[in-house]
């Protein structure tokens, strides 16, 4: 860091995590501003959880380093821990303790002073709508309430950074919305939120997202920026019958996957204009009736698909050179 430069809230510089020969995280560099809601995207096994474990000081990076608020993520991990809240992927609170007991326990463990702990817990119970269930054992709660409690336990000490590993997996849309509203509230209060997900619908709700694939950070930007790159790459076909079309059209040259969306076949194409021209010349599917086509508006699912197929990555590389 150069003198006079404002320290980054969170900075990863070439983080690497190896498990034996397998590289889980490969040369990851990332900067976060305070108050961001950063979505860390990627398919299962991309290295999201490994990154989080390094960030929380649960495991040491094999190479590279990272800082949070200027503290090294490994050497100063105890400093960071009092400023960090972590909500792991699976429910990790005490199922045989009540909501209140869980909250009290974590308040003590985080060293929240007794007087303020009481206020804080009451405030959280109100904010999370958990007050009526405060004497219910955590194990008896529904999935949504469990997750709210997990987040509550992680923000008792008002952390500057809240890390959530797939916080909404397995929740219904209603609970999902509640969780996201809470995250926005926290962000408004100044907490930086680092959330992993492979739900693209949720990725759209982040202020910025990073896309991790096979341990490599392929892209980082706002959802709008990422979608921008796919404009004019997406075609929506109206064909009959749909299901047959979905599998047949996947094998067209220059097509990276087909998906059924709102009664249309959505194609991610290498060169859509050329593809249309070729198809007009020769429609190779006698069994399918082609009614119409249009250029689609990309969403985060398309971005995910594009990264999964590698075309966005290739495109990024070519523009970088």
């Amino acid at each position: 860091m150069r003198r006079g430069e404002k320290p980054q809230f969170l900075a990863f510089n070439g983080l690497v995590k190896r498990y034996g020969r397998r590289i889980a995280v490969d040369n990851l560099s990332l900067n976060l501003q305070p108050g961001e809601v950063f979505g860390f995207l990627g398919p299962n096994g991309a290295g999201k959880t490994s990154t989080i474990r390094m960030l929380c000081g649960l495991t040491r990076s094999s190479a590279g380093n990272g800082t949070v608020l200027g503290f090294d993520i490994w050497n100063d991990r105890f400093e960071i821990r009092s400023r960090l809240g972590y909500v792991p992927q699976q429910f990790s609170l005490y199922a045989d303790l009540t909501i209140l007991e869980n909250l009290w326990f974590f308040a003590s463990v985080y060293g929240v002073p007794k007087q303020s702990a009481d206020c804080r817990i009451q405030a959280l119970l109100a904010q999370l709508d958990l007050f009526p269930y405060r004497r219910v054992r955590a194990g008896h709660l529904s999935g949504g309430f469990k997750q709210l409690l997990a987040i509550g336990s992680a923000i008792l000490h008002k952390p500057a950074l809240l890390v959530l590993d797939e916080p909404t997996s397995g929740l219904d849309p209603c609970n999902r919305q509640t969780i996201w509203n809470l995250l926005y509230e926290l962000s408004q209060e100044g907490t930086t939120v680092f959330v992993t997900t492979h739900n693209m619908d949720e990725a759209d709700r982040c202020t910025r997202v990073g896309f991790l694939y096979s341990g490599k950070l392929l892209a980082i930007g706002s959802p709008a920026q990422l979608k921008e790159r796919l404009v004019n790459q997406i075609l929506d076909f109206e064909v009959d019958p749909l299901i047959a079309a979905q599998s047949s059209m996947r094998d067209l040259p220059g097509v990276f996957g087909t998906r059924l969306r709102s009664g249309k076949i959505r194609l991610l194409a290498d060169d859509p204009r050329n593809l249309i021209a070729e198809l007009r010349q020769h429609w190779p599917f006698p069994a399918l009736a082609w009614h119409a086509y249009e250029f689609g508006v990309p969403d985060m699912d398309d971005v995910f698909e594009a990264f999964r197929c590698g075309i966005l990555a290739a495109k990024l590389e070519s523009t970088e050179v």
Binding site: L58, F78, Q90, S92, Y94, D96, W104, F105, V109
Partner: protein
């Protein structure tokens, strides 16, 4: 300030642990009711003093006055519980088939032999499967026979004609003295110290109490840490500022406290029910504290290389099995061969049993047991430190 956070944190962990125990009533019941039940069972099993009620048969093939007298003596002793089993003459005696441990046979012509100056030995058939009792039974029969012999001697002397005594008076004094002393049975006058009733319970009580307490401190501590590892709460704890050593201390303390209470209960039971004296309560409390600290530490240590509660239980069982036999809980370790005895010194129970006997049986002071204290404290420190260090190393 940082220390204060640590202190509050480990108290929080300890309280939470008690809450878990309170919620899991089955374990709580086991912890409260099993130790006294085991103590009663094992205590009565090992309470036995001298040999009694050995199932046996007596075969009198001589049918003489002497054999009748001897039989009466044998019946009046409490060593044997004589069974009415009849065995055909000359046939092999089947001990196990008749649930017998011994057969005493007075052979034909026994009385004749005694009168002819050519005594025939009694026949004794023993079940040698239990290597300890067989010689004990032999000794008991020998003792009864000795009693019979001294009675016979008395009646023989009484019936001697006066001429013999007149004749005897002519012998030199020294020869007469030698003669009369050789005619009377030579005895041993035993003063039994430390355990005058010769009741095994006095020796075995520390072993019973120590084994029971060790069993549940090791397994409960190990399981309580592994349960957190299984449920992922350990990871959740590890991202909080709590120090690893505070987690271990918070885990060990509640079980240590409970074990101390249970131990007090067992000692009280031993005193009231088995009349085992417990001297120097302060010294015993100190000893129990370091012993239970080291066994809880052992539990924490076991947990550090088990990922699940199942593994923790399995490792504990493998560890506890040799302790049963090698720690000197039921037999003094001085009877073990040297090569085996070395392993005995690896178990905290060995030191606890030794020190507890020093204090209770021998009335020894702190000087006699200082090494047991030192070694137990060191092992507690060592196991807890390793457990705290390795708490990080094993990841989910």
């Amino acid at each position: 300030m940082k220390f204060l956070v640590g202190k509050r944190a480990f108290i929080a962990v300890a309280l939470k642990e008690l809450l878990h125990l309170w919620r899991d009533r089955r374990i709580l019941m086991l912890v409260i009711f099993l130790p006294p039940v085991f103590t009663l069972l094992l205590g009565h099993a090992f309470e036995e003093g001298p040999l009694r009620n050995v199932p046996a048969i007596l075969l009198d093939q001589d049918h003489s006055a002497a054999s009748q007298k001897f039989s009466a003596l044998l019946r009046s002793s409490e060593v044997f519980n004589l069974q009415p089993v009849t065995v055909g003459a000359g046939s092999q005696i089947e001990l196990s088939a008749n649930n017998l441990t011994a057969a005493v046979i007075i052979p034909r012509g026994w009385e004749k032999g005694l009168h002819n100056g050519d005594p025939i030995p009694l026949d004794l058939v023993l079940d040698g499967a239990d290597a300890n009792t067989a010689p004990e039974i032999q000794g008991a029969v020998q003792a009864i026979l000795g009693e019979y012999q001294s009675k016979a001697l008395e009646s023989m002397i009484d019936s001697l004609p006066d001429e013999v005594f007149d004749l005897g008076r002519q012998l030199p004094v020294s020869v007469r003295k030698d003669f009369s002393s050789s005619m009377s049975p030579w005895g041993v006058k035993a003063s039994i110290l430390y355990n005058p009733d010769l009741k095994f319970i006095h020796f075995v009580m520390p072993g019973i109490v120590g084994l029971i307490l060790q069993l549940f401190t090791v397994t409960l501590t190990a399981c309580s840490i592994c349960r957190e590892r299984e449920s992922g709460t350990l990871t959740q704890l590890q991202v909080t500022p709590i120090h690893k050593s505070a987690i271990i201390i918070g885990k060990v303390l509640p079980y240590l406290g409970i074990a101390l209470c249970v131990e007090a209960m067992l000692f009280f039971l031993g005193q009231e029910h088995f009349h085992v004296a417990f001297r120097s309560p302060i010294l015993l409390f100190g000893l129990s504290f370091v012993f239970l600290l080291s066994t809880s530490g052992l539990g924490a240590f076991v947990s550090s290389f088990s990922r699940t509660q199942t593994q923790a239980i399995q490792y504990s069982v493998f560890f506890l099995l040799p302790v049963f036999l090698l720690s000197g809980a039921f037999a003094p370790i001085s009877q073990l061969p040297l090569g085996v005895r070395i392993f005995s010194y690896a178990f905290p129970l060995t030191y606890f049993c030794h020190a507890c006997r020093e204090i209770n049986l021998y009335g020894g002071g702190i000087a006699r047991v200082i090494w047991d204290f030192v070694l137990l404290s060191l092992s507690a420190l060592l196991t807890c430190s390793i457990a705290a260090y390795r708490l990080r190393a094993v990841e989910v």
